[in-house]
């Protein structure tokens, strides 16, 4: 199929427009329609996977370039490589999960929720597939608006604060990135005499930016820093992470899944696609800083997660820790560590997405997420307990499940260059096991002291169906990671050769 990438990107927009025209009171129709669209989208991305040739280096199934603002050399241009392929698959897998998870928890403005979610989907997929840096920026910013609404309208008590904080924090980074993009385009014009925002053109000219001596006298470092800030806030890397716990705690379950599962990945993806690929010299110079911030993030996130009384906040801080691993792998710079980092992006989306979903399941029943309000419920909700434990084990890296593969590749690949950081990072794996298992113990085992927990209902069929696809991939990646490692190998090799 031609234009497959355009369909998968703008299919959700078309669906959102259709939904927007239907009356608000047909809530069931909105849910079912959105679910059907999201499943169709997943099918489309499976088609992309099927048509994807792992032996081709560079971008495939390219759509465009189609002149968009020809005066400035801006075009509509999409393409997929092994890295974006996995992330698009992850995104389209998570959308139906989000819709199912929100089936009964979103009761107000049902139409608005699904319209926002579908617009958000276009933004996310588009940002992964864009091959024009201006187009990328547009998709990147477009995501802000629906996510702002999802947190702010359907969120918890302090939702407005969290939504505005999310919006402003992200904007801080992205606006400076805009100036950097303008600078890159200007620089390309200086070198070649032509205006272009094409990613492939940037790959040629951006590395030629002068390195200079200090930060302030080095164009390459300054432009690098602008991109760095945008992505570091999104990841979020320590110390830019403070928006994340607020956003997660206030967001509805579906919002948290999408936020942790996909939006954070846009940060790490951006590091790889732009910082790493466009500015090799600046990246080389920044590796020590990234290593330090990554390890601090791993340990700090783990320690802070350990003392959280709120399950959702605990999972939120665990994200800071896990994304630290991804950054460690990117900074490691070897084939194994980079592949591990990309795989870990997917793993984190699966495991943390599932954890947020499961926390949402129990929250819907008891309207509390405090660990202290539970205890001893393993006997009351056995199926739920089993699934929760399974996901926990995946999150802490049990061999045979997905988390192990990613963490192992990252640590093994980084060992050769930076053994000290690997040792510190490995400590994070241990702390990760501590906080997760300690939470599981306090919630599911320990004596049952709260009477109201005796009548808790176990996870229902819809919720199982929502989490099941995640479990399938958790096992699949754990048992046979080659399925996912081989398509991205060519892309990662190409990137590291720069």
């Amino acid at each position: 199929m031609e234009h497959l990438l355009t369909y998968v990107t703008f299919g959700p927009t078309a669906a959102a427009l259709v939904l927007a025209l239907l009356p608000e009171r047909w809530e069931r129709l909105h849910r079912w329609l959105a679910l059907a669209v999201s499943l169709g989208l997943f099918a489309l991305s499976l088609l992309i996977w099927k048509g994807f040739d792992p032996d081709i280096t560079g971008f495939q199934m390219v759509d465009g370039p189609l002149a968009w603002i020809p005066q400035l050399g801006i075009s509509y241009h999409l393409g997929v490589d092994g890295i974006s392929l996995l992330l698009v698959l992850l995104t389209t897998l998570l959308i139906p999960v989000v819709i199912l998870a929100s089936w009964t928890s979103i009761t107000e403005h049902v139409k608005g929720f699904h319209v926002s979610l579908l617009f958000l989907t276009t933004g996310m997929i588009g940002a992964f597939l864009a091959l024009d840096i201006f187009l990328f920026y547009v998709f990147w910013e477009v995501m802000l608006i629906p996510m702002y609404f999802i947190i702010g309208v359907w969120g918890g008590a302090r939702r407005i604060y969290a939504a505005v904080k999310f919006f402003i924090y992200t904007m801080v980074g992205s606006l400076l990135m805009l100036v950097a993009i303008l600078y890159l385009a200007w620089f390309h014009h200086q070198l070649t005499g032509a205006w272009s925002f094409a990613y492939t053109d940037m790959l040629k000219t951006a590395p030629q930016l002068a390195m200079g001596t200090g930060l302030l006298s080095s164009p390459q470092l300054l432009v690098f820093a602008a991109f760095f800030l945008a992505f570091a806030i999104k990841v979020p890397m320590f110390p830019f992470h403070t928006w994340l716990p607020d956003a997660h705690v206030e967001a509805p379950t579906g919002g948290s899944i999408i936020l942790a599962g996909v939006l954070l990945k846009l940060g790490t993806y951006g590091f790889l696609r732009f910082n790493r690929a466009l500015f090799p010299a600046a990246w080389e110079a920044a590796v020590p800083l990234i290593l330090v911030l990554a390890v601090v993030g791993i340990l700090y996130g783990a320690w802070v997660a350990m003392v959280q009384p709120d399950m959702k906040k605990l999972v939120a801080y665990s994200s800071v820790s896990h994304l630290g691993f991804v950054m460690l792998g990117l900074a490691g710079g070897t084939l194994a560590s980079t592949q591990g980092a990309v795989l870990q992006m997917v793993n984190h989306g699966l495991s943390t997405g599932a954890l947020f979903l499961l926390v949402g399941v129990i929250y819907e029943r008891r309207h509390t997420r405090l660990i202290a309000d539970y205890g001893g419920i393993a006997g009351v909700v056995p199926v739920y307990t089993g699934i929760f434990l399974f996901v926990t084990l995946s999150s802490i890296g049990l061999p045979g499940l997905n988390g192990f593969v990613g963490e192992f590749l990252i640590l093994a690949g980084t060992w050769a260059g930076h053994p000290l950081f690997v040792v510190l990072g490995a400590l994070g794996v241990i702390f990760g096991a501590v906080y997760m298992l300690w939470m599981v113990q306090r919630v599911f085992w320990n004596p049952l002291v709260h009477e109201e927990n005796r009548s808790l209902k176990d996870i229902n069929l819809r919720e199982v169906l929502a989490v099941l696809p995640l479990l399938v991939f958790i096992v699949w990646i754990g048992v046979h990671p080659t399925t996912f490692l081989s398509p991205m190998e060519a892309a990662v090799r190409l990137l590291l050769a720069r």
């Binding site: 002149a67 402003i168 100036v179």
Partner: protein
Amino acid sequence: MPTHSDLVALAPELILILAAGVLLLVEAFLPRIRHAASGLALVSVAGAAWARLALPLPGAVWSGMLRVDRVTAFVDLYILVALFLSIWMAVGFLRRNGLDRAEFHALLLLAATGAMVMAASVNLLTIFLGLELLSMPLYVLNAYLRRVDVSLEAGLKYFVVGAFASGFLAYGAALLYGVAGSTDLATLAQSVVQEGRMTPLLAVGLAMFSGGLLFKLALFPFHGWAPDVYQGSPTPVTAFLSAVPKGAALVVLLRLVISMDLLHLTNRWLWAGALVAVASQFLGNIVAIVQRDIKRMLGYSGIAHMGYAMVGVIVGGTEGAGAVLVYLAAYTFMNMGAFAVIALLSESEREPHLIGDLAGQGWRRPIPALALTVCMFSLAGIPPFVGFTGKFLVFKSAVDAGLVWLAVVGVLNSLISAFYYLRVVYTLYMRPLPRREPAFPAGFSIGAAAATAAVAVVLAGIFPAPLIRAAEAAAQLFLG
């Protein structure tokens, strides 16, 4: 004696003046058919726009005092669109307030004619004439809600400040005449370029002349009137005021700057211009954060927006001018849309237009609320709306001219502005409806104006190429 082609070149202006005259006669002698006045006004605006598009653009006319070229055409169409939307909103607005009079539309048409003359002028005298024709009707229109105190205050304030501005401009023009011995801009530019440096006489003349224009643009340090006048004027007049005089004044400023190539003539121009731009941005955006009245807030935001546009003026050249023209178009659409929704969602003109009054309306009145939301995000410069396109081009022109820091200041200001634009959005959608729900009178035409503007904001944001092409083609001609 004007020749035939002189008259043809001014056909759009003549159509508007003719229509204004007819409207005044209707009001005087046939008050029974005054409800048809707005229709006639809209038809005349459409006719003027058609005339501008269909008739040839001869260049210099009226003995070289006016230039009717693609620059003029771009700005004329911009003014006519703003005028059309203002009249459209005014239809419902006047009916609600029991002020449905033909003279209102006649005054708007005359003001727009003044702006168009000003935009076409390449002579200090005609610039002044245009400015006066633009300002006089506005003094009346500001105070049109004559039983509302704030409206009278707005009229008086705009009049006093406007008189100062005219004085500045006239005095500056006199000094510039002293420099060149001619009121013709091209002759003036020629003598400046020959001189090759900034003489004291030229500096003072330029400062006073552009000071008069800065008043009209509500730029620092001549911005003080804007919030009060925005707040007090009838909302359709505020909408008109926020777009049309600014467009005309910016074009005059661009003609001046580009013809003299000020950026390369003296670095004092850069510093003076940058001071105006940067101070306006910070002041407008920071003070807007604490406003509770949405019209006042947009008044401050307007100061900031002209601060962004000023960046393009400083850069000058084809690129800077093109960016400014796109910015103007963008600003008009989003501002018009915002004011139309404000006019629609306000219970009474006697009360302040508090942002808090919009609570929960996002779900109660989805279409106007969506239009306002689109305009707010666009004003904040978020893609894919046209406000982003404008900012993108202005900042791009700064980066290309080596003034990266001006672009950085601009984006930081966009960030500050997000605070107050977001407040409107979350009040609409995330705050609960108040217990006593406001009763908004119906206003189909206001809603239609709002929807049109919002659709334009989205479409021009997603497909900006035609707008950019038109602006660039026009900007080529600034160089003569």
